[in-house]
């Protein structure tokens, strides 16, 4: 077999197997270098894979040489590729840029463990994305969850600890719900392979367990994805985590859960459960709408910058679900590309936040007054990220809002209501982003903050790379668009 054929497996193995090695590298900076190299390598693999899947082909890899459904198979299509780009991209940028920030927040002797957990979180998320086996997804979900708990618990504030504990309880309940759902399906079909499940599920006559399974899986993953109203764990966890962890996880953590949710619902249940489509739309749509509006409203009045952005994440995930619950290709395409674009925007914002945090101890919005005078580059990057979050043309965020509104318009009078809500929440986003920008730029600095200076260069460069990425993908969105449209196609009308 050639090297290229092994790429799907290498995508997981590289970060996974570097994790144990990293904890042995105690000399200062070595663990970071190894972890950064490993993440960067997985980013390259993800790019290489995307080059293949962008043409619409899907890759599979039989682990251990055992064919599905007897063995575990990895499968990578355009949708997974997009997620891989998000996950590895966020991981790589955050770790490479974040050394300065992590050095401040994590004691040197704990850093090898921290970086190891970082790699494990990355490997877990990747494993979830590319696995084609329902139970294997659970295993890698647990790797990523446990590693995320570690990363978040690394926050210097003591409030990080109860926040992590809450996340741990919620995450475990979510994973167990998922396990119950998978168990019920397994009981009815005898298989764990997703494609095989779909084929065999259509022969199942007793629908009650199947409906319950759909419910358990959806709720379990919604807990992980922090879908409103199951998001309560998220704001505290993001707020008190180390800043780089927030940048990493906010860009991709919940998105992978949404990805699995969409995959399960559209691949396994969609065609097989009578009225499942309607139920999916019927339950998810109101939640998505409520979540978007309420979380945006909370963000409008939130005083702490990281919490504000965390609530904004909950709101933005609402858009993704709105698109998905339209149940057509254009809606799905909008939500898939929003996954990508929102990751870009949030990564830029949280990287900027991390830069600010290096100079400002307190991240309440009021404390950051006048930061633009001393940290002009950081603040400008924040503005670009904010514009993308709002959806101003020329940024990535615009593309997804545009596509979302366009697909919503297909739905007559109800569509107009949806447009109104999307527009309203965009305006709310304008408000909460502007509140911060105004403080950064047009408020007089506090006396204690006069002497701060610009963030470290690496961090600044990385922040700007992501910020400019927002602009680049806003003007030349071809790659994510193509991937997203393939993804939407496969989700809607994948080969039976």
């Amino acid at each position: 077999m050639t090297f290229n054929e092994h790429l799907p497996a290498l995508q997981v193995i590289v970060p996974l197997l570097s994790a144990p090695i990293v904890i042995l590298l105690t000399p200062r900076g070595l663990a970071w270098a190894a972890a950064a190299a490993s993440t960067l390598f997985s980013l390259f693999i993800a790019i290489a894979l995307a080059m293949t899947t962008v043409t619409g082909t899907a890759l599979t890899y039989d682990l251990g040489g055992w064919e599905a459904p007897y063995g575990i198979t990895l499968s990578i299509d355009a949708f997974s590729s997009l997620l891989l780009l998000i996950v590895t991209g966020a991981g790589a940028v955050a770790i490479i840029a974040g050394k300065a920030s992590i050095d401040v927040q994590i004691e040197t002797h704990r850093q090898p463990l921290f970086y190891s957990a970082w790699l494990l979180a990355l490997a877990g998320l990747i494993g979830m994305v590319i696995s084609a086996d329902a139970f294997n997804i659970f295993v890698f979900m647990e790797i990523s969850s446990l590693a995320s708990y570690i990363l978040i618990a690394g926050g210097p504030d003591r409030r990080a600890l109860p926040a992590t504990f809450k996340y741990l309880i919620t995450g475990t309940i979510g994973a167990t719900f998922y396990l119950i759902g998978v168990g019920l399906i397994y009981m009815l079909t005898g298989t764990l392979n997703l494609a095989d499940m779909e084929a065999r599920i259509s022969e199942v006559t007793s629908l009650n367990p199947l409906l319950a399974a759909a419910g358990f899986i959806t709720i379990g993953l919604a807990l992980k994805a922090a879908v409103f109203p199951l998001h309560v764990w998220l704001p505290n966890a993001y707020t008190h985590a180390p800043h780089m962890v927030t940048a990493f996880l906010a860009a991709c953590g919940t998105k992978v859960a949404i990805y699995v949710l969409l995959r399960f619902n559209f691949f396994v249940f969609q065609a097989n459960l009578p009225e499942h489509a309607v139920q999916f739309a019927f339950f998810l749509m109101p939640l998505a709408l409520l979540g978007t509006v309420i979380a945006s409203a909370v963000a409008m009045f939130e005083g702490h910058l990281k919490r504000l952005l965390a609530f904004s994440s909950v709101a933005q995930m609402g858009y993704v679900l709105i698109g998905a619950s339209l149940l057509n290709a254009s809606g799905l395409m909008a939500s898939v590309i929003h996954l990508f674009n929102h990751a870009m925007a949030k990564a830029a914002l949280f990287l900027a936040v991390a830069s600010l945090a290096i100079r400002f101890r307190d991240l309440r919005v009021d404390e950051l007054a006048g930061a633009a005078r001393t940290m002009p580059w950081t603040c400008a990057a924040f503005v670009v990220g904010g514009l993308s979050l709002v959806g101003i043309p020329g940024t990535a965020g615009f593309i997804s809002k545009w596509l979302l509104i366009l697909s919503v318009m297909d739905h007559g009078h109800f569509g107009i209501l949806l447009v109104a809500i999307i527009v309203l929440t965009s305006l709310m986003a304008v408000y909460y982003v502007w509140r911060v920008v105004e403080k950064l730029y047009f408020a007089a600095p506090r006396l204690s903050n006069v002497r701060v200076n610009e963030a470290p260069l690496t961090l600044l460069v990385a922040t700007w790379i992501v910020a400019l990425g927002n602009v680049a993908f806003g003007l030349y969105p071809e790659l994510p668009l193509t991937l997203a449209s393939h993804a939407a196609e496969t989700l809607m009308e994948h080969p039976r």
Binding site: F138, L146, F165, T176, I180
Partner: protein
């Protein structure tokens, strides 16, 4: 109804009851250790559900006995899955407990409401 049928239903009822007992403890209890214990009961219940479905009437544990060609074996797959799940469960517990220890050090309590009040 034969005994094994009753047992079959009984297994699922017990699964449901255990799940509820565990879930109740997780949601309602304030004590963090109690929450974790509840979580482990909650997970054990799911293990029981999986293992229940591996049973085949008249079967034995799936270790092939070449001298008995007509032997029926129980289903190995759920067992493998649950082996994994048990280990996942204990890992989560260990991590949760280490968090509790640290919370106790920083807050002086392991009762959730007192922690919320402290911040």
């Amino acid at each position: 109804m034969t005994l094994i049928e009753i047992l079959g239903h009984f297994n699922y009822w017990v699964f449901a009851i255990l799940l509820m007992v565990g879930f109740y403890a997780v949601i309602v209890k304030h004590n963090l250790i109690k929450k974790l214990i509840g979580l482990s009961i909650f997970q054990s219940a799911v293990f029981l559900m999986y293992i229940t479905m591996d049973k085949v009437e008249g079967g034995t544990a799936p270790i092939i006995q070449p001298d008995l060609p007509d032997q029926i074996y129980s289903n190995p797959l759920p067992q493998v899955l649950i082996l994994t799940a048990i280990v996942v469960g204990v890992s989560t517990l260990a991590l949760g407990l280490s968090l509790i220890v640290r919370i106790n050090e920083r807050y002086g309590t392991i009762e959730e409401d007192e922690i919320l009040e402290a911040d």
